[in-house]
């Protein structure tokens, strides 16, 4: 099932024009019912008109021809604002396209606008945005997850057909799961980060959101690959992957711990039974000894990298500047007034763990645990084709519920951060709705560059669940 293919076939049969389709999505995006957009692309209708002409001439070539896409507001789109949901960049206009955007444009995608997020991608609820919190489309009193909350909402609420977000510690998978859509965190290096505003460079990855797995695959195929502008990008190995059923899937033992909500555990059991019944997989529990330390390691590494990456916002080269009589006061006021509470907290923590005398005690130790986490994952992936676990220990929580206790907010990422620390690929997929009507999703983790296995297996599962 692919909405991309369905819409492109409408164009090919001259039953609809890109202008008509984009207007439908734009109407919803303009209403902005869930505060999912920070800004819209004012030229999108003009760009759609150009594609309308091509339809009439029968020149439909791009793989995303006339497909409305939204982009997280930390990815540069030339000529559009890129705020990172921060006051410090509120008027920043991107002077060039990120590599992923160049690729989308080459395929004739239509960029609808830039989506809401936690400031500089630091958050799990989309409540740390200088442009106000976004709302979950299933219950407006609840959070959509973060940090790419706006991207997940835009796809879930049909404000865009596809979206691109970034995942540093779960920022694609958590909102995808909370909003009932697919969200892929690719292998570290599989997608160029050129033009992505840096948060924690050894963890950040750009990835797609979509309602159907085939659409995730199409978008990922377009954005993946080596980029000379990003030396941490890799040549993506092209290979055919034919899963041999039943697959061997490992279920993380911690998925059934007391920290996980009961309904998530019973749904996971239901999912396992379904796949066993359909002879798609055989399951066995596995353990990662260092799993419970992953959150501490993640916040040491990510904060350290953030404190360095965010040093560039000083009010001189770009962004917000506070008026002052001398340089030092200007720096101080600019950063005090420009950054929000969570960003300041993480910069200070990062400065602390990198401080002489504490560097060995925290940062070096954390990097050692990171090696251990990677080894443990790889050992388990020798035995299993895929690893299965929840995306979040809770259902989408109420707005404000975790704001007073940042550590409880950080614990929302318990099932996602370890994958980023290991650099492995993972995909969040929707399974069912809870008794309250809230989405419940799980995630698969696989070996490096095995995204294709996710796509093949989930296409099969999608057919079973949705027919």
């Amino acid at each position: 099932m692919s909405e991309i293919k369905r819409i492109i076939s409408l164009y090919k049969n001259k039953e609809q024009l890109p202008g008509d389709i984009v207007k439908e999505y734009l109407k919803k995006a303009q209403k902005n019912d869930f505060n999912s957009f920070i800004s819209l692309n004012e030229n999108v209708l003009e760009q759609a008109e150009e594609l309308d002409k091509k339809v009439k001439e029968g020149k439909i070539e791009g793989r995303l021809f006339g497909i409305p896409v939204s982009i997280k507001d930390n990815i540069l789109v030339k000529g559009l604002k890129c705020t990172c949901a921060s006051k410090i960049l509120e008027n920043y206009i991107a002077p060039y396209d990120a590599t992923v955007i160049e690729k989308l444009k080459k395929e004739d995608a239509l960029i609808i606008g830039k989506t809401n997020m936690d400031e500089f991608a630091m958050g799990s609820s989309n409540e740390y945005s200088a442009f106000g919190p976004a709302s979950n489309p299933f219950d407006r009193e609840r959070v959509p997850g973060g940090s790419s909350g706006g991207s997940a909402i835009s796809v879930s609420a049909d404000e865009a057909l596809l979206s691109l977000g970034s995942d540093t510690g779960g920022s694609i998978r958590l909102p995808a799961s909370f909003c009932g859509v697919y969200g892929l965190k690719p292998t570290y290096g599989a997608v160029s980060r050129y033009g992505l505003v840096a948060f924690a460079s050894s963890l950040d990855q750009i990835g797609p959101f979509a309602k159907y797995i085939e659409d995730v695959e199409i978008l990922f195929d377009i954005i993946k690959g080596k980029d000379e502008k990003d030396k941490t990008s890799a040549h993506y190995p092209e290979r055919e992957i034919k899963p041999s059923y039943p697959l061997k899937i490992g279920v993380l033992k911690d998925s059934f711990s007391d920290k996980v909500e009961e309904e998530i555990k019973t749904s996971l059991e239901e999912f396992i039974k379904l796949l066993e019944k359909e002879k798609i997989a055989e399951f066995k529990e596995f353990e990662i000894e260092s799993f419970e330390y992953a959150i501490a390691v993640y916040y040491i590494v990510a904060c350290a990298e953030a404190s360095s990456n965010l040093a560039r916002y000083d009010g001189v080269l770009y962004g917000f500047k506070s008026k002052s009589n001398n340089l030092w006061d200007m720096y101080e006021k600019t950063r005090t007034e420009g950054f929000g509470e969570e960003v300041k907290r993480r910069i200070m923590l990062g400065a602390f763990v990198l401080k002489s005398g504490y560097y060995e005690e925290y940062y070096v130790k954390a990097q050692k645990v990171r090696t251990k986490i990677l080894k443990e994952f790889l050992k388990n992936l020798e035995e299993f084709d895929l690893l299965l676990m929840p995306v979040s220990p809770t259902l989408p929580f109420k707005k404000g519920e975790k704001l007073k206790d940042p550590i409880s907010m950080y614990l929302s990422d318990i099932f996602t951060v370890s994958v980023n620390l290991a650099g492995l690929p993972a995909i969040a997929f929707p399974f069912k709705l809870s008794k309250q009507g809230l989405p419940i999703g799980f995630q698969f983790v696989s070996k490096f560059f095995m995204e294709k296995l996710f796509f093949e297996v989930l296409k099969k599962i999608e057919k079973i669940i949705y027919g």
């Binding site: 390691v297 916040y299 002052s324 340089l327």
Partner: protein, 92 residues
């Protein structure tokens, strides 16, 4: 300097207001305590994570290219005059 004094020193360096300082201090101490969890692990045989094996970190050759949209770049600066970014003097 003990840990609390070190944290106080960092909060002093970032010149927070008294109100802000007390808010951040409590969380800071909790987080540092949380970080100490990793001491429970035996790490004597582990090497610090450096980079993933599939990524070859070759340096690219320096190549001077002209950036065509300089205006877009400069327009993002709070103050730009001639060919210079303008800022307050570092000397009083």
């Amino acid at each position: 300097m003990n840990l609390k004094e070190e944290i106080d020193r960092i909060l002093e360096l970032v010149r927070l207001s008294k109100e802000e300082k007390s808010k951040y201090e409590e969380h800071f101490l909790k987080m540092v305590d949380f970080f100490k969890k990793i001491d429970k692990l035996d790490l004597k045989d582990e090497k610090p994570f450096f980079y993933l094996e599939h990524l070859k970190t070759e340096l690219r050759k320096d190549k001077i290219t002209e950036f065509k949209d300089k205006k877009l770049l400069y327009d993002n600066s709070p103050e730009f005059r001639g060919d210079f970014f303008v800022t307050e003097s570092p000397i009083e």
